[in-house]
């Protein structure tokens, strides 16, 4: 199967998920091409060419200097029409989410977004089957691609391992799509950060993180007490920060900080994928949740199923005893 991987870069560096996408393509495909979109990206194309791929397409144009959905869609569309791959793979980044569905629509296809695995029959010439999560990670689904290619699939962060990537030596081909400024309707400004982060969760050894299960802002002290007992930093899942119950800078997950402490205690967090990608690298994961089927228990090492308002104070008490 011929695969085109569309890789991503920012601030002059390849996005780390690009390597995962390339590794996945090496495992799934028989012939793998890589594409990078931008302007003046020769050095990055060289970097990709040191991996085992057939060709690296440096898709360059002055109008691709900054990402726009319209510009990238037109550029990748032109490359796909020229190279005719059976499968186009992307890292499931915010950028991919912004334009890959539009691109797939141009080919009368639906993008399979955020895939976590490929089934074995992907190898035997049959129509490929990818696995993705549904219902916030509570159920998995097998999705079969039907009809002729190209098909479009984006891959979840961490689902394929970049260290499995094979080295090689590839040809670099520059591809200049026909673009004109009137096609591009979005005018992007320079990216910015709201403020310097006062809280660096990535430095914390122990994190106690709170989710929707807490139910009420006034109940936050219940988990604060556990954090104090453990000498931990307090963190939260997105909905808690959205509601203003804790500041945004304490958010763990795809739109917040990515942490890997010695211990991560998830309290009342169901474990939607947006949260899991931010903490699943933690060495020891403890989950406290009333729902025994919550996805958080799939990544946890230890768990207590129960009412957090009973379990958390009891746990804080036992920890204080153990440390005394």
């Amino acid at each position: 199967m011929k695969i085109l991987t569309v890789l991503e870069h920012q601030n002059g560096r390849l996005h780390r998920m690009s390597w995962e996408t390339l590794a996945a393509a090496q495992q799934i495909g028989t012939e793998v091409d890589a594409a990078l979109i931008g302007n003046g990206i020769g050095a990055l194309a060289q970097e990709i060419a040191s991996k085992k791929v057939a060709r690296v397409y440096a898709v360059e144009h002055a109008l691709l200097e900054h990402y726009t959905a319209d510009g990238y869609t037109a550029a990748v569309e032109a490359l796909v029409r020229k190279t005719n791959p059976a499968l186009v793979l992307f890292p499931h980044t915010y950028q991919t989410r912004d334009y890959a569905p539009k691109l797939a629509t141009r080919f009368d296809r639906s993008l399979i977004s955020d895939a976590i695995a490929a089934r074995a029959d992907v190898h035997i010439g049959g129509s490929p089957v990818f696995v993705r999560q549904f219902f916030q990670g509570k159920l998995n689904g097998d999705i079969r691609l039907e009809g002729p290619g190209p098909h479009f699939v984006s891959l979840q962060a961490g689902a394929w391992r970049a260290d499995a990537l094979e080295s090689g030596s590839a040809v670099i081909e520059t591809f200049t799509p026909e673009l004109n400024a009137s096609q591009i309707r979005q005018a992007p400004e320079a990216p910015f950060r709201e403020s310097a982060r006062a809280v660096d969760l990535t430095a914390a050894e122990i994190i106690v993180s709170v989710g929707r299960g807490i139910g009420d802002k006034d109940k936050i002290p219940v988990v604060e007490e556990l954090a104090r007992a453990l000498g931990a930093e307090l963190a939260a899942s997105r909905p808690i920060c959205d509601a203003g119950w804790l500041p945004m800078e304490r958010q763990v997950g795809s739109s917040g900080q990515t942490v890997s402490p010695k211990m991560y205690v998830a309290v009342g967090i169901s474990g939607a994928i947006q949260h899991l990608v931010g903490m699943k690298g933690s060495k020891t994961i403890v989950a406290i949740n009333k729902d025994a089927n919550a996805p958080i228990f799939e990544v946890a090492d230890y768990g207590i199923v129960g009412d957090l308002f009973e379990v958390v104070p009891a746990l804080a008490e036992e920890i204080r005893k153990a440390k005394a």
């Binding site: 998995n140 689904g141 309707r185 403890v286 089927n293 207590i304 009891a314 005893k321």
Partner: protein
């Protein structure tokens, strides 16, 4: 400004879910449903934009008869009218199929702005708004945290939006109207429907259109099987009363994981 908001009805968060008889979808009997949370934020943003700039908010929803409840809620919160695309089995449509239904209903409305949530809590494909924009030939942007209308009238009508990027970064993007935006949860504070709103909703117009059976289905992908995920780590679960369970957990943390 005429603002269209595409909303979806999904099972209430934390519903117990099991695979239904087909093996391809959940068993819906006995479940309660609600407006998909990101769509609720999109609706709120539309209502706030209308309060600021005037105009009309039209809710657009594809779904079976039960979706009436979500539509009534949108009307009670302040949408002026609604379009219900009646489709008994949404599972028969993929993203492209659903977006085609929405596009067909949206086109004759000639909206200035279309808003929807960035993803649904059930399928979670996160694509409907983007595909809808492409089908309607409109510019779009996704994961939006702020919408400013720069110029609301005529040929120069445009917006400037704040888009969320990864790792705490943001970016402003300007684009002409009409346009499609997918809204991030937390962009605003959701309102509750008032008693007066609920009463008024009963007299508001719901235009019903029926989805073409079968023909709008796209054939590029199919859910073959839906199942409980295999666990990647085997969690040790501690049971008993909270004190006993906590004591067992602390012992493991101290002597097995050695993190205390």
């Amino acid at each position: 400004m005429k603002i269209l908001v595409a909303i979806k009805q999904v099972p209430v968060r934390d519903s117990p879910l099991v695979t239904g008889a087909s093996g391809r979808w959940i068993e819906e009997a006995g479940l309660s449903f609600e407006i998909n949370e990101p769509d609720a934020y999109a609706l709120e943003e539309a209502l706030q934009l209308k309060e600021k700039h005037g105009g009309e908010v039209v809710a657009l929803c594809a779904g079976p008869a039960r979706a009436q409840q979500a539509i009534r809620e949108a009307l009670a919160k302040g949408a002026d009218r609604a379009i219900h695309i009646e489709a008994e089995d949404l599972g028969a449509f993929d993203t492209l199929g659903i977006a085609r239904l929405l596009a067909e209903a949206a086109r004759p409305e000639n909206p200035d702005l279309i808003l929807t949530g960035l993803q649904s809590d059930d399928l979670g494909y996160g694509q409907t708004g983007v595909v809808l924009a492409e089908l309607m030939g409109l510019p779009h942007s996704t994961i939006i945290m702020q919408v400013d209308v720069v110029n609301k009238e005529g040929g120069g009508a445009s917006i400037r939006v704040k888009r969320e990027l990864e790792d705490g970064w943001f970016q402003h993007i300007a684009m002409p109207l009409p346009a499609v935006l997918t809204i991030q949860s937390g962009i605003n504070k959701l309102r509750y429907a008032t008693l007066m709103g609920i009463k008024r909703a009963k007299t508001k117009e719901i235009r019903r259109v029926s989805a073409p059976a079968g023909e709008a289905q796209s054939s590029s992908m199919r859910i073959e099987k839906l199942y409980a995920p295999e666990k990647s780590r085997q969690a040790q679960i501690f049971e008993g009363d909270p004190k006993t369970a906590a004591a067992k957990l602390v012992e493991k943390l101290k002597f097995e994981a050695r993190v205390l």
